[in-house]
């Protein structure tokens, strides 16, 4: 099945839409109705703001004395944690697709099912779970994203520790569909996620998102996953700084984890193993993993 064949198949599937019962002007009527509602809502919000301000001016001293003036926004997630079994079950489906679509052996990930792998570390966000799975011999690992139902969502890959060894290299991904804004009417938000295998001396990893928030990754035996949400209009092309610390809280490395977002310069790294040359790409600002060699920027 080629791309053109797929286009033709899809084209054929939607070639004969049933007659639409829309009358000319229906769309405009619906649009005007929505426009009126928005204006009414906006007016209502403005009035409510004025009222709150007025009450606030009157009551502020009492309110402040009662709760110290602090207001915890209390972002509560409705997300229920998936059990390790549910994570493995969801990731097994993603893994099967991954093995169909790519050759995991190339990255040292092997081709066997992941039934006996275990969840090394996982992190929750509003609409899903990001997890790192490790094989029984701990020679291979997989990075897996699931939605709130335990179905595959986002990225999945599996690697061999010998082929993609521990490093400070990290790539962040983002998804606006994977988070719930605290103000669903007018709010926007963006979910970030990342994961990987850091060098053994790493004890703690933090990420600083473009909105200035610093959050911690979940770390276990060098494997880490990180998820976070940024509220408001966040520029997803700005740097996300990952900082790696050892057990004494000494900074080991700092990387822009958002340098490979599709733009930005990258460079090739390569390593020779026997008769094979393994080549991969990293953002130009990052170093190639141990034992690798830069083959120049492009």
């Amino acid at each position: 099945m080629t791309e053109k064949n797929l286009h033709d198949l899809l084209n054929d599937l939607c070639a004969d839409p049933p007659t639409s019962d829309q009358l000319p002007g229906d769309d405009i009527r619906r649009g005007r109705r929505l426009l009126r509602r928005r204006r009414v809502a906006l007016g209502g919000t403005t009035l409510a703001s004025v009222a709150v301000l007025a009450v606030g001016v009157t009551l502020a001293p009492d309110v402040l004395s009662a709760d110290g003036g602090a207001s915890d926004s209390g972002v509560t997630s409705t997300q229920q944690a998936l059990s390790d079994g549910e994570i493995l079950e969801g990731c097994a489906v993603a893994d099967e697709q991954f093995r169909d679509a790519t050759d995991p052996a190339k990255a040292g990930g092997g081709t066997d099912p992941i039934d006996d792998w275990r969840v090394e570390v996982s992190g929750l966000n509003d609409r899903g779970v990001t997890a790192v799975l490790v094989s029984p011999d701990r020679e291979r690992y997989a990075f897996c994203g699931l939605d709130e139902r335990g179905s595959e969502y986002g990225d999945y890959y599996r690697h061999g520790v010998d082929v993609v060894p521990p490093s400070f290299d990290v790539w962040v991904q983002y998804d606006r569909e994977r988070c719930e804004p605290s103000d669903p009417e007018s709010g926007r938000c963006l979910a970030w996620y990342a994961g990987g295998l850091a060098p053994a001396e790493v004890d703690r990893v933090t990420f600083r998102t473009p909105d200035g928030e610093v959050t911690e990754a979940d770390v276990s035996n060098g494997y880490y996953v990180w998820t976070a949400e940024s509220e408001g209009r966040v520029d997803e092309t700005k740097p996300v700084w990952a900082t790696f610390y050892d057990a004494d809280d000494e900074q080991l490395a700092r990387r822009n984890a958002n340098a490979a977002s599709g733009e930005g310069p990258v460079k090739q790294c390569s390593r020779t193993e026997g008769d094979d040359t393994i080549v991969w790409t990293v953002p130009e600002v990052q170093t190639c993993a141990d034992g690798s060699e830069d083959s120049g920027s492009r």
Binding site: M1, T2, E3, N5, L6, H7, D8, L9, L10, N11, D12, L13, C14, A15, D16, P17, P18, S20, Q22, P24, G25, D26, D27, I28, R30, G31, R32, R33, L34, L35, R38, A94, Q97, F98, D100, A101, T102, R149, S151, E152, Y153, G154, D155, Y156, Y157, W171, Q173, Y174, D175, R176, E177, R178, L190, E236, A260, S261, G262
Partner: protein, 168 residues
Amino acid sequence: MQRRDAEFTEYVAARRTHLRRTAYLMCGDWHTADDLVQTALAKLYVAWPRIHRDVPPDAYVRRILVRANIDESRRPWRRERATEELPESPAEETFAVEDREQVRAALARLAPGQRTAVVLRYWAGLSVEEVARDMECSIGTVKSQTARAIARLRDQLSALEPTPRRES
């Protein structure tokens, strides 16, 4: 308002069919597709002065369709819908009916994100970057979603001959 209405009406007349097809391929049901398009066009009307000036209306509507479709797929009744149960299809002209049903079933088995990525990339002909903008996710996510969707479709549709009508 008159100018907005005239421009908007002209746009809808030219693009409604294309938008319905896009929505249908994303969700797999013509009634749902019509609901999605109605929602998207109402929002487009509200934003028309800004959209018409700053960004192509098609891109704006696509983004609303993508978001609305994914929201729709999260609704509880939607989750319980059997994906094997296929709606009736109109008479076909290019591929055999059973082939069309197979394509519809294969698409229905994809996760919403995978289906959207495939439709935008291979039917609408958008670049990976454009799909990432429409789906509001990173390029890597689009690539991985697309690759796995294609693998699944290839697996399920490998027996199909993408040639004109086969006589039974």
